[in-house]
């Protein structure tokens, strides 16, 4: 099942009935998209969604979901990690793409609802997106008729560039931005009274040079996959589904994960050439996830229980300058050695840094303003976040410098955790080589239950 590919030669009727859905109860269940405005969608067939989801939970790799089954499923995920056919279920207690073993590629997109969009439009969009995501994460086309099985005189529902490609561990994660809950005093979608108290625009930080047109967004989509074409296919088709209801505000491609979420994954390197995410929260650390990542029922509001908050920061790295820095200066700035990622206080990559240890030249072995020290939980009242960032290189700027950097993504129980850590980094030696040019924060609802859609409880 984990190697279930997209049909190389699509045949009429291919879909849940003839494909992965065979493991599930057949029949036309209550469909994801059957909302008041479902008819204005793409004409997607919603037949058999329950079948899809049933198959997902029954037979497919369950990657790193939280909860009691997590330990077992991690093993399963790791066992299958090598296969491009890895499939992560779309439904579950939490949305995919958070603790899921970090895939190799990212396409992230932020959207704004159209000016004339209504509450029904928002609900139908989330329904249609959820349905499409439930299919694409299984390696299927965006609808049953998909790229080539529809009417020859109609544009295909699916753009088709993922035909023949496996699911590639695709996850699609949806978030809701602060402005969705009311902007400029207008409560366009009737959800202002359900805004999480902690969901507000981030404060300004030292080093911010934000482009408002590449920041914020009333909705966001994080598509991660081991094949960049699969991730791009997802965002492209979700954007098309949104036309008339929501418009693309900004988007970002990322490559080369800069963190890991399972102990089986090696620690990757960022564009500074250093290992990143050594101390990240891992998917099997349930206690840490519950304490730092998942919104607890007691946190409120009820519809966010099991969800999380996503912060995205587009961080431009002035890598040309960095590359001219002496090795020992680079290491002092980070607080770790470049070869192993070991703290400068000694040991290996996973040795805890000892900030009291003395260096060879007097002073501490780990500089007081080094990145590893300022970001460390011990200096931040134990605050931790789950990082999931990617490198990016968007060509070059007009001065001939690589337009490169880190697309930082972190999940936390409250955005306040990010604020605490980012403020602590105001004196970071690394700050000289960084410029934050994009920013956003979103509430990421819990996973959809089978037959429902992401954020359904928000509108109940």
């Amino acid at each position: 099942m984990t190697d279930e590919p997209r049909a190389e030669t699509p045949v009429p009727g291919r879909g849940p009935e003839s494909g992965v859905g065979t493991a599930a109860a057949a029949g036309d269940g209550p469909a994801v998209g059957d909302g008041p405005a479902a008819a204005r969608g793409l004409g997607l067939s919603r037949r058999g969604l329950l079948g899809l989801i049933g198959a997902g939970t029954a037979g497919l790799v369950v990657g790193a979901v939280g909860g009691t089954a997590a330990g077992g499923s991690i093993a399963a995920a790791n066992a299958a990690a090598a296969g491009a056919g890895t499939v992560h279920p779309f439904t579950g207690a939490h949305q995919g793409g958070i603790t899921t073993p970090v895939q190799d590629h990212l396409h992230f997109a932020a959207f704004d609802m159209e000016d004339r969009a209504t509450r029904d439009d928002l609900v139908s969009l989330l329904q249609d997106w959820s349905y499409a995501a439930s299919r694409m994460t299984q390696g299927l086309d965006v609808s049953a008729s998909g790229a080539v099985d529809g009417s020859p005189v109609a544009p295909p529902d699916d753009s088709g560039e993922a035909l023949g490609l496996p699911a590639s561990a695709l996850t699609i994660t949806f978030g809701l931005g602060p402005d969705l809950f009311g902007k400029d005093g207008a409560d366009r979608f009737g959800i202002a009274d359900r805004r999480p108290a902690v969901l507000t625009a981030l404060p300004r930080f030292r080093g911010d040079d934000l482009d408002p047109l590449a920041s914020g967004g009333e909705l966001c989509v994080q598509a991660c996959a081991d094949d960049p074409q699969v991730a791009v296919h997802a965002v492209r088709n979700l954007t098309r589904i949104a036309f008339g209801r929501a418009r693309l505000r900004w988007s970002q491609l990322g490559f080369g994960r800069t963190s890991k979420t399972t102990s089986a994954q090696s620690t990757p390197r960022n564009l500074f050439g250093f290992k990143d995410g050594t101390a990240n929260i891992l998917a099997d650390d349930e206690a840490a996830l519950d304490e730092h990542v998942w919104v607890a029922p007691s946190d409120g509001p009820a519809w966010m229980a099991g969800g999380s908050y996503l912060v995205a920061r587009r961080i431009r790295q002035t890598i040309e300058t960095w590359d001219r820095l002496q090795l020992q200066e680079q290491e002092r700035t980070i607080g770790r050695d470049k070869r192993e990622g070991a703290p400068l206080s000694g040991g290996g990559e996973f040795t805890e840094p000892d900030f009291a240890a003395a260096g060879t030249k007097g002073g501490p072995a780990i500089d007081a303003r080094s990145h590893v020290r300022l970001a460390h939980p011990d200096l931040n009242d134990g605050v931790r976040i789950l990082r999931r960032g990617y490198n990016f290189v968007d060509g070059n700027d007009e001065l001939g410098r690589l337009n490169a950097g880190l697309f930082f993504l972190s999940y936390q129980r409250s955005p306040e955790q990010f604020v605490t850590l980012q403020r602590a980094l105001s004196q970071d030696l690394l700050g000289e080589y960084l410029r934050h040019v994009g920013s956003g924060v979103w509430a990421v609802p819990p996973g959809a239950s089978p037959g429902s859609f992401v954020a359904a409880p928000l509108f109940a």
């Binding site: 004339r116 009417s151 008339g244």
Partner: protein
């Protein structure tokens, strides 16, 4: 009018519902063949178009048109936008009479005659229909043929207006009256832009009439037509760049000499005459018949694609900055084509109704935004005055319309 078309119209006894429309064309039938509930007389000569009454009650109306002029004439019943043709009878020879029979829904209309079959027409007058809505009947095939015939009539009407407008524009340009030619440029082009896909289907005709310099150079063509004339009328600064943002405007270019102007003017008129001949030919009617209503629907789609790819980037009228005129005319032509197949789409169940509703909303929103920049009647602001935010908003509105519109053909044919 071709023989086949005459036969067709004479035998078309059915009624076709036309868009949201208002009127249903029953065809141009011999007077004896119809039992009209309400007979109206129309007297057309070379300068007037007198209708016996300016109002009527909804139901079947018959306009008996008598041509007292010296040229072949046509009679049109237009919708309240003054553009959409809801009924027409053509090829009325001097001294002859023909009848237009329509099933009229309540609403406001215009009547006009077009002696000589080209130009704006004469005797344009308001016409109102009161009373209750009338249910349309008639079989599907006949309704579709009526839609095709109305689209053919629309295209012919636009080209008929284009021809004399181009003749005047070309004469002013050749004579060096640049002010008059500049003022006419975007207005003349509107007739062309409403039916652009028709011209584009004709091999090298559109390249001769409407190619931009950068495209003509890229394809090694002799650069002629509207945009060559445009550059003479809006002479670029010495340091200006062409639409590719790279080639100097004056590279391999110089203002046309009087003799060159005359040649370009004559060429444009000849090309538009060729277009006019084509849309009045049996070949054109045959092509439309073969495409069926899908051809109309595809016309609506491709006109909006023109906007999405060409006009929104401001690269069409690079020197004059009159892109918004072309933009608005493309949208009008697209909406006209859509209106003819609208009922077929709407009849396809809930999905069809929802699609039509989305498309209606899309046109309305796009038109409302365009109206903030001007109108084809009163003129538009220069394209260069649009901000990035304006262009982004227009792009969003085009996307909102183009996405459902792209599914129109499939729905109509389903």
């Amino acid at each position: 009018m071709t023989a086949s078309r005459t036969t067709l119209l004479r035998t078309a006894a059915a009624v076709a519902s036309v868009g949201a429309a208002a009127l249903v064309l029953a065809g141009c039938v011999a007077k004896a063949d119809v039992a009209a509930s309400d007979a109206l007389t129309v007297t057309s000569d070379d300068s007037s178009c007198d209708v016996s009454t300016a109002s009527a009650t909804s139901g079947t109306l018959a306009f008996d048109v008598t041509n007292q002029g010296s040229e072949v004439t046509e009679f049109y019943l237009l919708a309240d936008d003054g553009l959409r043709i809801v009924g027409e009878v053509e090829n009325i020879a001097p001294g002859a009479s023909r009848t237009l029979t329509v099933v009229a829904q309540p609403g406001d209309y215009f009547t006009l005659c077009k002696p000589g079959m080209v130009g704006d027409g004469v005797g344009r007058a308001s016409f109102s229909v009161s009373g209750d809505r009338v249910e349309a009947s008639g079989d599907d095939a006949e309704q579709k043929q009526q839609a095709i015939d109305l689209y053919a009539a629309f295209v012919k009407d636009q080209v008929e207006q284009l021809l004399p407008a181009v003749q005047q524009f070309a004469a002013d340009y050749a004579a060096g009256d640049d002010a008059a030619a500049q003022a006419a440029f975007p207005r003349v082009r509107a007739y062309y832009e409403r039916i652009e896909p028709i011209a584009e289907s004709l091999g090298d005709l559109d390249p001769r009439i409407d190619y931009r310099e950068v495209d003509a150079v890229a394809e090694g063509l002799d650069w002629t037509g509207f945009h060559r004339i445009e550059k003479d009328l809006w002479v670029p600064a010495q340091d200006a760049l062409n639409a590719d943002d790279e080639t100097p405007a004056w590279q391999d270019w110089a203002p046309s000499t009087p003799a060159q102007r005359q040649a370009l003017a004559d060429g444009l008129v000849a090309d538009v005459q060729e277009l006019n001949d084509y849309v009045h030919s049996a070949d054109f009617q045959t092509a439309l018949d073969e495409q069926g209503i899908a051809g109309i629907s595809n016309g609506a789609i491709s006109l909006l694609d023109e906007v999405a790819t060409g006009k929104i980037s401001g690269e069409e009228d690079w020197w004059s900055g009159t892109d918004l005129w072309d933009f608005a005319a493309n949208v009008e032509g697209s909406k006209m084509a859509f209106s003819l197949v609208r009922d077929f789409a709407e009849s396809k169940g809930a999905d069809g109704e929802a699609l039509v509703s989305q498309i209606d909303d899309g046109y309305a929103a796009l038109e409302a935004q365009l109206a903030t920049y001007g109108s084809l009647q009163d003129g538009f602001i220069s394209y260069g005055q649009l901000t990035d935010a304006d262009r982004r908003q227009l792009t969003d509105l085009i996307n909102q319309l183009a996405e459902p519109l792209s599914r129109l053909t499939g729905t109509v044919l389903s």
